[in-house]
Symmetry: C2
Subunit: 251 residues, 2 copies
């Protein structure tokens, strides 16, 4: 079976492929085989939303990748890349948000991913949907993601203003969420016992593989988690194997 790649968002795919030097290893790294947490979010939402539910629309804080996945499952959404939300909040908006006339009362889910166009207007609107009873979902809760040898704000940081206002954390659909594991298993018909999870974070990747009862887990030390991090008492997970870098597997 060809390798499958699990990541937070399509925006992170390039940095991901670079980090693991997949091309130089001769490992296929077709973006089509990247399975994002946006996809597992769409699978999860499709599981409880359908046309029979009146509040069947999703308000999206995120980019085109999330929209593509929602569309593939026939899920209606607003927000996302809609340019009408990419603007400053006005004095009039305060009134229209408060009295509900700027809101769509068929929204029943707020889904937050990596939104490179996060702004005050969208946060204010998303908060109203939450206090009016929408389900709070996050594609993933990664605080940062690596790019150009430093870190940039991740999807988990984009959702934090809402978590702080609403006081209840979102259901996170990225690693280590087992909703993502179930979605992958259904999609690729994989045999868990013959599957190895390879990743660079104990708290998401390795935990995901262990809780999903995969055949193995391999930590690669080119990312966030460092050698010996699994020896701490509060280690998020213990990998079955580790390598300094993926190319150590050659030869």
């Amino acid at each position: 079976m060809a390798p499958k790649y699990l990541t937070g968002d399509h925006a992170a795919i390039d940095s991901f492929i670079n980090q693991f030097e997949l091309a130089s290893l001769g490992i296929p790294s077709n973006p089509e085989e990247v399975f994002t947490s946006a996809y597992s979010s769409a699978v999860y939402i499709a599981g409880f939303l359908d046309a029979s539910v009146r509040r069947n629309k999703v308000f999206v804080l995120g980019e085109a990748g999330i929209e593509t996945e929602l569309r593939s499952k026939g899920i209606q959404f607003i927000g996302g890349t809609d340019p009408s939300y990419r603007r400053d909040i006005t004095a009039e908006d305060y009134k229209l948000i408060a009295d509900g006339s700027l809101l769509d009362d068929t929204v029943g889910v707020v889904l937050v991913g990596l939104d490179l166009h996060i702004n005050y207007l969208k946060l204010a609107i998303a908060y109203q949907y939450l206090i009016r009873g929408s389900i709070f979902l996050a594609t993933n809760t990664d605080s940062t993601y690596p790019s150009n040898k430093t870190l940039f704000p991740g999807a988990g940081s984009i959702s934090k203003p809402l978590v702080n206002m609403f006081n209840i954390p979102p259901i996170a659909l990225g690693k280590p969420s087992q909703e993502m594991m179930d979605a992958i298993e259904g999609n690729f018909k994989l045999d868990r016992q013959k599957t190895c999870m390879v990743g660079d974070r104990l708290d998401t990747d390795i935990k995901f593989g262990i809780e999903g009862k995969l055949g193995g887990t391999l930590l690669v030390l080119t990312g966030v988690s460092k050698k010996g991090d699994w020896e701490h008492n509060d280690a998020a997970a213990i990998p079955a194997f580790y390598v300094d870098k993926l190319s150590d597997l050659r030869g």
Copy 2:
């Protein structure tokens, strides 16, 4: 002595005056007498930054009110309302932020207040200043602020993406910070024993008055804290007095 008003930001002044019905009570409510946490932030920064420090500039996430206060203390800053930061992040930005060429290496403080123009670019830049050693300050940590009978994102929610990425909370200069109390005492020459703190939040307003050893504290039940909240074991503070609404003091 005329009443003084302590609030998070100039943007909140109108809703504040409305909430407490100050005009109908005949209580003077001159915006000049509103003392903001932006002012106490400026006083605090002026205490350790001066021209002799090489990294003497502040990177601001916030609006014009903060800039006014910084200017009044002769503090240099960048960011804030500068339109060049009010735009989408580009692929080129990732490189220039990572290699530092988009950064000003004389920045030594990141100050986050209520920023109605929060965006991804500013968060990515502020994070770089933090990991390069800047001091992390917040004008206040209010999660929300009331307007039009609902809640909107407060300064404390604007700083949360950075708190989540940096993993260290900011020094908060708003209530209940005693840096703010000291700044007020110095500014108005007030006699703490003859001063009563009036407010609607136990965890900020009432705590601020008690820790500042003011003569009294009065909780008004028109806002966030509810009757009896101070009877819980984990109550943030116990007010000396309370009223349902400020106008109950009449007659």
